[in-house]
Symmetry: C2
Subunit: 395 residues, 2 copies
């Protein structure tokens, strides 16, 4: 169960590192005999998964909903974040009476493999050396994340998930779950995602990685040996990425060319414009809670994601004969994971004979819309899950 | 006149610095009594403008075309570049028989104030100190660039330009020319541009500046004192910017998810994907020819550009009663300077009573389309200039 709200605490590198090894979460340890076979062909063992749960598992264990988090998200979906002191990242969607209703469902969210909030990742201690893995951690894929989650679900004694839900990188995991374990997924809701990472998105990720690696404090990924962290590079990476999460319209509406706390431009390199100080804040607050190497691993996992490639290049084959029911959701102003990507998923699902509904939500909020107050998102999520719950006999 | 083609030469920081002070170009020096009054209220004197010309000025001095270059362009429009050894950046548009025909027109292109190819900029020597200006150079605006160009045009004895033409930041200068000196501009062709820099575009520029400034080799802009240069930061800035010059479609067509010289992904942080090695190349080749401080100044000039703000917030007032004829051109897949920005210019020109034609070129090449082989761009540029030439009595 989720811990009760924790107070805001002062952020330090030490604190964040404690969260890596002693997370404010439930923890599942997998021993040397329970290896996670990674796509690169290496066994990861031992390893740890940190996770949060909300609500109660019913006696039939048929009401479990797995939420898959996005690139810079974590397991703290609907509780105060132990490091930032802020609300959980999906409190709009998850809670009592919310579309993913904690009074009806048993909700699980696990920090992904490669993450930095308690699940084994590059900041975790390498069992052989007692030092953080750093870049010695094998490369992680979306499928590895899903296989690890499946081991957690096994550990919890759950055969079939009622639903798997997630946006962005979380949506990639939803698709991978449905493809890899069709019998274990009753309903799937991939949001603002794609079945393969596009060239433009790889390009933006590569810029972010190069920004991190260009920071001399990165030290080839071994910054922890020097008690330093590549703050500046990671902040630049976050700033660049953050632009891609928004939309031109939303930026125009929110910031336009408004100046920050001044009547006239200073004609300098200060943050004259509100959008500049907003972006700088996004960069500097991110580095307090996120590990730079983890950012490298998780962006890379998304880049390598190409679900069709595992099925002879035909996406429909990934879903052939599936009995999972799908609800695919995209947002009109999302240019990072455009509606055309969701449409490709829907076409493949149709070709695979799946039951699928598709909603393109009208919004100007860009990719971030899946995290924000979007009534149409809530309505269609609720409608889909209600209908699936009836089909599953959960009512 | 343009110098004859120069051979490829080995790139060194020294060489580039020589181009700052002893450019392979024509040079106009403006002495202490010929100050450029900058928008920040400071007089810049002495200063220098480096420029190229092509074709012959006719006896009536009525066939001069001023080309305004973009952010990372320079005066080498249609001759081999003295540093890179590559073709001029607009050889597709400028040359014998080309839309901007060197057999009919006298074509001028000047490196902008703030640039690094011979016109006074942050890499130029500060006359008082004998060291480069660095960040002691006052902030430059688009209007400052245009005022400096007007002084050059005066020096050349030209009262009225037959045409002012440019794309992107060059297009901003075109609009500024038409607003500031309507009687001196017979025809104006702003391409892929905007009358004010958007919030999203400021955001991308800010990421680039932060990438440069995060590089410890930047040394608060005084890297030249240490014989170093912030290569890594500037390369990251260029990589991020370069994505915005292309389109998702063009990237997909050109690169997709193709791997670079390998059959299978390496599962590493190497440049596995072609798009990654392409971007890295864009970054590393750019830093060989461009000054990092110049990049800061010129991006900032674009950010501050808001033509309507100088005219009571009403863009139409900038063009009220103008006799200049305009041709506004945009590209369907340009998301950096979208067609909506061009449409806003056209509406203001219409409201100001100007003669204006507007073409949205269908292309998937993104913002960069104005530099590329786009037959529709060539056709409509030629048509517009031919018609204007007849009206000007140039035939």
């Amino acid at each position: 169960m989720s811990s009760s709200p924790v107070p805001t605490i002062e952020l330090t590198a030490d604190l964040r590192l404690r969260e890596v090894d002693e997370p404010h979460s439930l923890v599942a340890h997998f021993g040397p005999d329970e290896a996670l076979r990674l796509d690169v062909g290496v066994d990861l063992a031992p390893f740890t998964i940190a996770y949060q749960t909300y609500g109660q598992l019913n006696g039939a264990k048929s009401n479990a909903v797995l939420i898959c988090h996005a690139l810079t998200g974590d397991q703290h979906v609907a509780n105060v974040h132990p490091v930032t002191g802020k609300d959980g990242w999906w409190e709009t969607m998850v809670g009592p009476g919310k579309p993913i209703d904690t009074e009806r469902y048993f909700i699980i969210c696990a920090n992904v493999i490669g993450g930095c909030m308690g699940t084994t990742g590059p900041a975790s201690l390498h069992p052989a050396t007692g030092r953080p893995w750093g870049l010695d951690l094998p490369m992680i894929t979306i499928r590895d994340m899903v296989r690890a989650q499946a081991m957690l679900i096994d550990r919890l004694g759950i055969d079939q998930l009622f639903a798997v839900v997630g946006g962005s990188m979380g949506g990639m995991q939803v698709l991978q779950w449905a493809a890899l374990f069709p019998e274990r997924v009753f309903a799937a809701m991939p949001i603002a995602t794609a079945a393969r990472h596009s060239s433009q998105n790889i390009a933006f990720h590569e810029v972010g990685r190069q920004a991190v690696m260009a920071d001399p404090e990165w030290r080839q990924g071994r910054y922890f040996d020097h008690s330093i962290r590549p703050h500046k590079g990671l902040a630049v990476a976050r700033m660049a990425a953050h632009i891609t999460y928004l939309s031109d319209e939303a930026l125009h509406r929110k910031f336009g060319r408004k100046l920050q706390d001044r009547a006239a431009p200073t004609f300098s390199f200060d943050a004259d414009f509100q959008i500049e100080s907003y972006l700088r804040h996004q960069g500097s607050s991110f580095v307090e809670r996120f590990d730079a190497n983890s950012y490298l691993y998780l962006t890379r996992a998304m880049d390598y994601f190409d679900l069709a490639a595992d099925y002879g290049g035909v996406l429909a084959n990934a879903f052939k004969g599936t009995r999972t029911r799908f609800c695919v959701i995209s947002f009109t102003s999302d240019w990072l994971f455009a509606t055309s990507e969701s449409r490709a998923i829907v076409h493949a699902l149709n070709a695979g004979g799946a039951s699928v509904s598709f909603v393109e939500v009208e919004t100007d909020k860009g990719h971030d819309a899946f995290l924000l107050d979007e009534p149409e998102l809530f309505d269609c999520s609720r409608g889909f899950l209600d209908s699936a719950a009836r089909a599953r006999g959960l009512v």
